[in-house]
Symmetry: C2
Subunit: 233 residues, 2 copies
Amino acid sequence: MPHPKFIAHLQAIEGLSDDERRQIAALPSTLRQVSDGEILLRQGEDASRCVFVVSGFLYQARIVGDRSQILAFHVPGNMPCLHTLLVSPMDADLVGLGPSIVGYVAHSPLKQLLDGSIHLTRAFWRETLIDAAISRQWIARLGAQAALPKVAHLICELAARLAVVGLVKNGRFQMPMTQRHVADACGLSIVHVNRTIQELRGRRLIAWEGSEIELLQLDELRALADFTPDYLT
Amino acid sequence: MPHPKFIAHLQAIEGLSDDERRQIAALPSTLRQVSDGEILLRQGEDASRCVFVVSGFLYQARIVGDRSQILAFHVPGNMPCLHTLLVSPMDADLVGLGPSIVGYVAHSPLKQLLDGSIHLTRAFWRETLIDAAISRQWIARLGAQAALPKVAHLICELAARLAVVGLVKNGRFQMPMTQRHVADACGLSIVHVNRTIQELRGRRLIAWEGSEIELLQLDELRALADFTPDYLT
DNA sequence: CGTAAGGTTGATCGTGTTCAACCACCGTGG
DNA sequence: CCACGGTGGTTGAACACGATCAACCTTACG
């Protein structure tokens, strides 16, 4: 039983039958520990297997000019490089964020499974469409929002995605990322991110100590961020 | 024979057999003129058919706060809202850019066709993955580039995408968008876009008169924009 | 003609960057 | 045990890129 969180996530997106769940669970997979900052897949590399997140976080980043831009975060239940199944070269580095556990599923058995089931293909296709919707939301954030809502929006998105897999308790969740990661994700300088977070703290919207974030006033935070969670499913 | 450009585009992405091409061409479709600024689909609307671009341009935009953010442009051969096949509500408005011609294919016959062919499903899935790769590139642009490379990159991307469908001749192509569209796509003010374009003109990288752009020094423009076209296929 | 839309220009303003320094924390090795 | 070096966080000051405001010009079109 290798990846219950991934199956649950898929289930939440597109209903699966018992049999389909069994078929996915039967896929051969291997688990592996990932340390903070470790690069799982490099930009340009041809992947021969898919990754799924069991615990911890991953992110995808690309060097553009002299800075690093984060393109996406991945929480438990996500399958970051599912698209390599059809378009093999990675267009960004896949990196561990904090100590994490990931699983690998080789492309060939997964392809075989999907070849045999239109409905499962649909489910996995849909998974990549959710990722695309998140990317589109990032475009809106990066292009049109000021620093404060940008950071607030990122926090709202991560909280909502973690909530789907049951990792938010009483408005609190583990957040191993540093202010540098937030800066690279939002296209801001690290200094300004620091001041922005202080502003969020000063307004009593969030508490962020160590690696734990607490959402103090979710509604106000979402209003500030112009956040609605519907695009995540 | 309703959508030769779309089939050619799909063909370029994933090889199709003669029979598959015939099947796609046999899909019932209707053509329609679209005027500049006309909204084909609204954010939140449930689409019951897919759109493909025959001639002209479309774009997707979303209002965020007090500004409009363009999320994507669509050139002839693209199928903008293919994802509505699996995730029906539109997450942005789909708008005509300049007078254009689009075609409609109802969801149900398309679903039926894909249900019968894993390979065609793969091909259409892959089409959406290319869109996702473009979105990811936009994230990198918006998050990490300065104004001049941002605008240069957008021009490079459109030129490369138009070249795939044979709409670039001697480095010249039709570009019906105004500076406002560029501003909304790049997250810049219209005034600054104007100055940026003048800078590009001043450096003899592009000529942009009326609705025609000419690329004067493609290599230099791409170097400035940090552009590589590989993500488009 | 009159009006609207797109484009251009100049001046001023402000958000976020850059540079620099300092602090707190923590694991490591002398 | 403490000195140390590294990482992440915090603060202040000066700067710059791009936004904003306002005006004017050209062109297209009714």
